[in-house]
């Protein structure tokens, strides 16, 4: 026997050091490089983890159909209009995504946006207040309403559905009261806010700079993270994979900007809206607050036991949602240069909620992303814009939007089933 002479077996750590800590399990299927990334993505899609793919495909189909029916649909002029149209309700949809992530709902966003528009118009036009002060007060009104919802929800445990349904009516009442006998308040066109919402566009060169800067920032952030991962002994994707992703983003943004620049260009309001979406996405994915929101949406009891201040999260989310609704109301009033009794009425509420759901945020909490507000609102306004170009009446527009919402929910349910079958539930 030579056991006594043989050197001790190689330290297992030697092996472990050469392989990143997260790739040591022999059951993992290695995927490296751009090809590996592509095949891993394909596997994910096949197993039902669709992400935003159905929305993107849906958007392409919708655009193709409308282009076939009326080529003017993808004209630069119309697309610039589309970007401007979608911002007010898109802003509402950001707030809806937040409450949906908690598994709650806010049905009063439409009324809230109408009320905030009314407050803004009355304070600015009738009371002669400075426009920015009026904006701040309108936003504060939204924050207060959300705070009240949150307090009622925390204190009495009434379902948010009912609280905000009551809010829908009450806020509508406040809106009518604020507007008073006039019913309609027109905001002068030359005011800064109206200019901002309809006339102010990024200079062409600045739009291109933004389109290049965004992927560059993304690339640098990724490289930094990957460096830290390597230093920590974890795997990091190959440089080419990251570069290819950044390049895809860059090409997409450059195409969008060049198309929009052929007409008026990229509006400051649109940039602000997209920036809000990006900021909310970062808050949700990269902060303790966002992690708590997702945890509560997944399992409230687990979140509470983990020491998360659940009530504080509910309070902040309801407040943020109503504040976003107020901001959307301000955008709407600024874009139409008026606030009236029907602002925020009709289908505003349902369009905002439908946008969040079509964009891929689950109604049951815990799953979704801020980007679903952007994607969903694009779908909804592509449909309404396209049908308007075809001079189709409102009845058909409602029916088609309803059908698309239904389709989105069905796709969501099917992909959830598929995820469960592939162990990705």
């Amino acid at each position: 026997m030579t056991t006594s002479q043989t050197p001790p077996p190689a330290e297992p750590t030697d092996v472990a050091d050469s392989v990143p800590a997260d790739l040591q399990d022999e059951r993992l299927i290695a995927s490296q490089g751009v090809g590996g990334w592509a095949s891993a993505t394909w596997q994910r899609i096949k197993s039902g983890d669709l992400g935003s793919l159905p929305v993107v495909i849906g958007l392409v189909i919708i655009w193709a159909v409308f282009y076939g029916l009326n080529p003017a649909f993808i004209s630069s002029r119309n697309l610039v209009n589309l970007t401007l149209q979608m911002v007010p309700i898109g802003t509402l949809a950001i707030g809806v995504v937040l409450v949906l992530l908690l598994g709650e709902i806010d049905l009063s966003i439409g009324s809230m946006s109408g009320l905030s528009g009314a407050i803004l118009a009355v304070l600015f036009v009738n009371q002669g207040m400075s426009i920015w002060l009026a904006v701040v007060i309108a936003l504060a009104a939204g924050a207060v309403v959300g705070l009240v919802y949150g307090l009622l929800f925390n204190r009495f445990g009434v379902p948010s559905f009912v609280i905000t349904l009551a809010g829908l009516l009450a806020l509508l009442g406040f809106q009518l009261r604020v507007l008073g006998t006039d019913g309609t308040v027109n905001i002068p066109f030359q005011s800064g806010l109206v200019q901002f919402a309809s006339q102010l566009f990024l200079p062409e060169w600045l739009a291109y700079v933004v389109a290049v800067a965004v992927p560059v920032v993304y690339l640098l952030a990724r490289l930094r993270t990957d460096q830290r991962r390597k230093a920590a002994g974890l795997s990091a994707p190959a440089l080419t994979t990251v570069a290819v992703r950044a390049a895809i983003v860059a090409v997409l943004l450059l195409v969008v900007v060049s198309v929009l620049n052929r007409d008026r260009g990229l509006s400051y309001m649109v940039v602000l809206f997209v920036a809000l979406v990006v900021v909310m996405d970062l808050l949700i994915r990269r902060t303790t607050w966002g992690r708590s929101v997702l945890a509560i949406g997944g399992n409230v009891e687990a979140a509470r036991r983990a020491g998360i201040n659940v009530k504080r999260i509910y309070l902040t989310v309801f407040t943020l949602c109503s504040t976003f609704a107020a901001l959307g109301g301000i955008f709407a009033a600024a874009r139409l240069a008026s606030a009236n009794q029907s602002s925020g009425g009709a289908d505003t509420n349902l369009n905002a909620i439908a946008a969040a759901v079509i964009g891929g945020t689950s109604l049951f909490g815990g799953r979704g992303s801020a980007y679903s507000a952007l994607l969903g609102i694009l779908v909804i306004f592509s449909i309404s814009n396209g049908l308007a170009l075809l001079s189709v009446s409102a009845d058909i527009r409602y029916i088609v939007t309803g059908a698309v919402l239904l389709l989105a929910v069905v796709i969501d349910s099917l992909s959830r089933r598929s995820r469960a079958a592939h162990g990705r539930a």
Binding site: A21, R291, E301, A302, G307
Partner: protein, 265 residues
């Protein structure tokens, strides 16, 4: 094999009582666990196991009695206080967020930060270190917990309880609803907790699990102590008798009937 020097208990309770209205749920309970020891807590339904566990975990405040933790008398009035002392509890429902990945669940409510944002890199690194220490079989920490098996979920829940560097870990029915292999996995985990020098309180209905992994068995019956047994010196029958409170009942009688037959065969 009688131990001459018993290590000082890390957690010891004397004369602990708890009443719910007219029901005396716990009466003069004596209970202790030492570092590096696995104590099984057994008893029939309604014996007071859950009440005792919740008293230790700080969910219920006891009406009377003394709790000594790490040599100091303490009163545990809230779950967070228990956690701060170093008592970690893994409840039966595990309390995991299915939509979050393993890293997210491990560090939930205790996230590491880097420049104001979540430090995913450090958290992932520490997750692997922790899971390797427990020899846990989890292929990836970046998959949602929903896609893990029952044993893996239990592992994640136990690993999470260890993040706060506790001295005592309470496991509430960790092997309920687990398959054979997964049960073995969890029992291995319990032994690894013992090797780490933790006091482990194991609540279980499964006698073979208790006999396999525990050092001592504390039996509760109708809210009172009904004996503490060293696993090395006792048998399942004796413990079952203590649980049910009689040496002759349906369970022990059946066991007694079968025992001679097995000896003959």
């Amino acid at each position: 094999m009688s131990t001459t020097t018993t290590p000082a208990p890390v957690l010891s309770m004397t004369g602990v009582s708890k009443r719910f209205g007219a029901v005396q749920a716990l009466k003069d309970i004596e209970f202790d666990v030492a570092a590096g020891e696995v104590v099984a807590l057994v008893g029939d339904n309604g014996a007071g196991k859950s009440t005792l566990v919740k008293t230790i975990a700080g969910v219920y405040a006891p009406d009377g009695g003394e709790v000594v933790f790490d040599g100091n008398p303490v009163t545990i009035t809230s779950p967070s206080e228990a956690q701060n002392l170093g008592i970690a509890t893994v409840f039966q429902d595990l309390a995991l967020c299915d939509n979050l990945d393993v890293v997210g669940n491990l560090f939930l409510g205790n996230e590491r930060k880097h420049a104001g944002a979540l430090d995913e890199v450090t958290m992932e690194k520490e997750s692997w270190r922790l899971l390797r220490e427990l020899s846990a079989k989890i292929p990836s920490v970046r998959i949602p917990v929903a896609s893990l098996s029952g044993g893996q979920r239990q592992t994640v829940a136990i690993a999470r309880s260890l993040l706060g560097e506790p001295k005592v870990v309470m496991l509430d029915e960790p092997t309920a609803a687990l398959g054979v292999a997964q049960t073995a996995e969890v029992l291995n985990l319990v032994e690894r907790l013992r090797e780490r020098g933790l006091g482990v309180i194991l609540i279980s209905h499964n006698m073979s699990d208790v006999m396999a992994v525990a050092d001592r068995v504390a039996v509760l019956r109708l809210g009172r102590n009904n004996g503490v047994y060293r696993v090395a010196d006792t048998s399942s029958q004796e413990i079952i008798a203590a649980i049910t409170g009689a040496t002759t009942n349906a369970v022990t009688a059946r066991a007694a009937r079968r025992a001679p037959q097995e000896e003959q065969s």
